[in-house]
Symmetry: C2
Subunit: 234 residues, 2 copies
Amino acid sequence: MGTLNKKAVCLLSGGLDSATVLYLAIEEGFIPLALTIDYGQLHRRELESAARIARHLKIDHQMISIHLPWGGSALLDSHIPMPENRNVENIPAEIPATYVPARNTIFLSLAASFAETRGAEAIFIGANALDFSGYPDCRPDYFSSFQNSLKLGTKCGGEGKTIHIKTPLISLKKSEIIERAFALGVPLELTWSCYKGGEFPCGLCDSCLLREKGFKEAGAADPLSAHSKTWDLF
Amino acid sequence: MGTLNKKAVCLLSGGLDSATVLYLAIEEGFIPLALTIDYGQLHRRELESAARIARHLKIDHQMISIHLPWGGSALLDSHIPMPENRNVENIPAEIPATYVPARNTIFLSLAASFAETRGAEAIFIGANALDFSGYPDCRPDYFSSFQNSLKLGTKCGGEGKTIHIKTPLISLKKSEIIERAFALGVPLELTWSCYKGGEFPCGLCDSCLLREKGFKEAGAADPLSAHSKTWDLF
């Protein structure tokens, strides 16, 4: 496969980070294969955001569903309270109740299956290890190890091809991601970050707080606020 | 958690190997959490086998469905011809069309999510690197690497707990697995190996050929043959 038609699977949750990563992959010259995973998240509106972003770009987009019946996260089980720290300074250092056990491992394994089948040489994921929620599966060491596991456990790996796990946002601050997004023309009004998935962002969950802080530090207004009231609910 | 109630997720496809591994996990003193993954395999009868084995043992059993729309395997796409080597000596050394890209990585990532949520300390998988079909995700190096990825990418890993990937069949011949199965009282008549999933095993696919060779070398009759005609189709 020549570099002119190199493909990359882009994990697209519908959030600000994954949308930016998708645009970065395109800027790097990859033909994007967007992949959205409905894992039963209660904030289903991000799935609609993912679909809108993919339609906006007119790209190949797969959405697959997987129900994790064991729950184990505030994002999956409405009986587990969602942390509401109300202020970004109050977000505790420990791993929060929104952690979904092995989520990125599930996402990357599905992306790897898609990538190997379609001959894609990279997987882009919008993981971030700086302005993030302390999730262990967002750290560089984890991604290197997983890339090695894929090298050993795939047919293409045995043939000498590596499926590269690309994490271009891993060491950026949220404000830097937002600056990158504006520069790339990412339709930020189509993205969704709030863990609650209501009609409007709740402004209280960790994801809203980190987004708000990012826009503030980038000195920009969040275009989602103005647009969200024109949306249909998913 | 004491050793008296140690738990293990047991990947149960419904085949001979995974059923034997389930019994081995119980023999080792684990409380089994059986996990069956419907990944859209055309031979759906193995799912019914998995359910029957779990019911026979009266154990916790989760069955989850995931559709891999990209196909890429003769087990997923009826347009890809199933290899019929007709004789076990004819099975070629290369990775066959029944390879499902990243299948064990998908299975193990889901098992890891289940294991972490339920506090299980091991995942049992019936992979075999001897009388197998040449799949890259059945080799010891791959499993070690994946265990390391989990260690880095889970909350419990960060707390010093390892989710052990246990592959007790990895270096056994099929005949040795069958001997082990008889010794453990595995209801082999409930298991299903044929890739085709018809009313009776086809006797021609690689999985049937390896099973037949195993029983021959173990000097035993396959109890499935006698029982299969009494089954309802799934």
